[in-house]
């Protein structure tokens, strides 16, 4: 059974004379605990896809279902990690992580325990009382991930989560994400511009065309990863050196470049 199901989804923005078609027709089934990365040129609608699963946008045609039910609004079952972190500047790290639990009505003791677990998971020990502005970008994003993880969501939605980080922090976070999802697997929908990131992290990579967005190609990376035993390499740079990795990365690059070459920008 698919956990996330895009069925004939179309999205148009704007009013009758003045609008544009963001998504032409999206059909996609994402299985339980699958890690899906969506890549595509700017404006192809990949973020819109994520936002529809999150419940911030709604399709103009077709349906988006999670666990068999149509998405009607946002909620903690589909946790979102935003590109700009979206932490509450006036709350401490611990309070930021705890808000979702408070909304669920979880009691103080249980809350404290879960927050502590999340803090440990994301390597934030010692920073519980700190405020977002005191933390680096990487740390802030860890808090955002902790905040999402602590909800034990069915689906984890990540919208270019490492886009605002510098290159080194980015690589560290990618390794972290692999570590966490291995320990605590979830269904993940991950939007990114960076092809290498997608190939490194995902089970399947969805390539989208330029606007109006359609699914161009879906690459099964999981079988490649298993066959070529990528997980035996600890460090990203070692994985990215492998022939199989480079092959698929280049394939996806070329596919994207076709989309770009006809574009003005």
């Amino acid at each position: 059974m698919a956990v996330i199901h895009f069925d004939g989804v179309q999205k148009t923005f704007g009013h009758k004379g003045n609008g544009f078609v963001a998504l032409d027709r999206i059909d996609l089934k994402i299985a339980d605990k699958e890690f899906i990365a969506i890549v595509g040129p700017s404006g192809c609608g990949k973020t819109t896809c994520l936002r529809m699963v999150a419940g911030f946008e709604f399709p103009t045609a077709g349906t988006v279902n999670v666990d068999g039910r149509q998405v009607t609004g946002p909620g903690p079952d589909r946790a979102v990690v935003f590109q700009q972190f979206a932490l509450f500047p006036w709350k401490s790290v611990a309070d930021n992580i705890a808000l979702g639990l408070r909304n669920k009505g979880i009691g103080k003791t249980e809350r404290g325990k879960r927050v502590a677990d999340a803090v440990k998971l994301m390597g934030l020990e010692g920073y519980e009382a700190a405020y977002p502005h005191q933390l680096s970008g990487g740390m802030q994003q860890r808090v955002a991930i902790a905040r999402a993880y602590v909800l034990e969501p069915d689906v984890l939605l990540m919208d270019e989560p490492f886009g605002a980080l510098d290159a080194q922090t980015r690589t560290t976070m990618q390794e972290e994400l692999v570590r966490i999802t291995r320990r605590n697997p979830r269904t993940v929908l991950f939007i990114t511009h960076a092809v290498e990131e997608a190939v490194y992290l995902a089970d399947r990579v969805v390539i989208m065309t330029r606007r109006p967005g359609r699914i161009k190609e879906v690459i099964d990376i999981h079988s490649v990863r298993e066959a070529e035993k990528w997980s035996e390499h600890e460090r990203i740079e070692d994985v990215m050196d492998l022939e199989s990795f480079i092959h698929w990365r280049t394939h996806i690059w070329r596919s994207l470049r076709e989309e770009k070459s006809d574009q003005d920008q």
């Binding site: 609004g73 979102v80 935003f82 979206a86 509450f88 808000l99 979702g100 669920k104």
Partner: protein, 262 residues
């Protein structure tokens, strides 16, 4: 071309400043002392201060200067607090609940352009010389900035913060209290400062017309008695209190900003 862009040295700033003040008081004193303007209309600065000191112990128009000031400040406080207590929550809620915004906004926009002082006749009609009158007028002045600033603060909160809160399953009340309010704090406090200024001014205006105590009342009585020194002492007192209130709120603004509430 002039050298505007370079700030002055501290010594220069003080020198020019002192020169300005000396010039100001000098011309004033000169005009008065040499009778260029009749003493009656322009007492010397010294006379004004002396009169102010005298009013601290000698009552005029029903009370000493402090007693009148206290009356005024109390009225101001009531009206100002009422304006804030109603305006801020309402503004936040209007920023969140679209329907509420759509209902209240037209009413508010219609009433907004009525200068607070124009409420005086109705205030007099409804409250006579009671305390309700001035409070109504102060409220009419203090309420709009509180509402507008809270509303603006709430409406312009970073969208992703709101989405994050919704994603976390936060209920409406909690969103208003724990997201909109902290995010709007800077705007709200700025609004309080504007509100206090208008409120204090409205109070004085109200007291000029419908009061039997207070600094504004004192000024009118002094004017009718042609006691210019008293009028100017009252102006001095009013200015000082207004300044004090403004400084207090500026300090509050700076504190809020400093606490890094981003």
């Amino acid at each position: 071309m002039s050298t505007s862009s370079s700030p002055l040295r501290t010594s220069e700033t003080i020198a020019y400043g002192a020169a300005g003040i000396v010039l100001f008081f000098g011309i004033w004193s000169g005009l008065s002392w040499f009778g260029i303007v009749p003493r009656q209309f322009l007492p010397t600065p010294y006379e004004v201060v002396a009169k102010a000191v005298q009013l601290l112990s000698t009552p005029f128009a029903g009370g000493t200067l402090q007693e009148h000031l206290l009356s005024s400040v109390l009225r101001f406080a009531y009206g100002f607090l009422l304006g804030a207590v109603i305006g801020i929550p309402l503004g936040l809620m209007m920023g969140w609940y679209r329907l509420l915004d759509e209902i209240v906004s037209p009413i508010f926009d219609a009433l907004r352009f009525i200068a607070p002082i124009a409420w005086v006749p109705f205030a007099a009609l409804w409250f006579g010389t009671g305390i309700g009158g001035p409070i109504l007028i102060i409220f009419a002045g203090a309420f709009p900035p509180c509402l507008i600033n809270a509303y603006r603060g709430a409406r312009f909160v970073n969208r992703s913060l709101i989405e994050a809160a919704q994603m976390l399953g936060t209920g409406n009340t909690r969103i208003i209290l724990e997201v909109l309010l902290p995010a709007s704090l800077a705007s709200i406090v700025a609004g309080l400062r504007v509100s206090a200024g208008i409120g204090w001014q409205s109070l004085i205006g109200a007291e000029l017309i419908v009061a039997s105590t207070g600094v504004g009342f004192m000024m009118v009585q002094a004017q009718l008695n042609i006691s210019t020194p008293i009028v100017m002492s009252a102006m001095l007192a009013i200015g000082l209190v207004g300044l004090f209130i403004d400084i207090a709120l500026r300090w509050l603004e700076a504190t809020v900003r400093r606490r890094g509430l981003a």
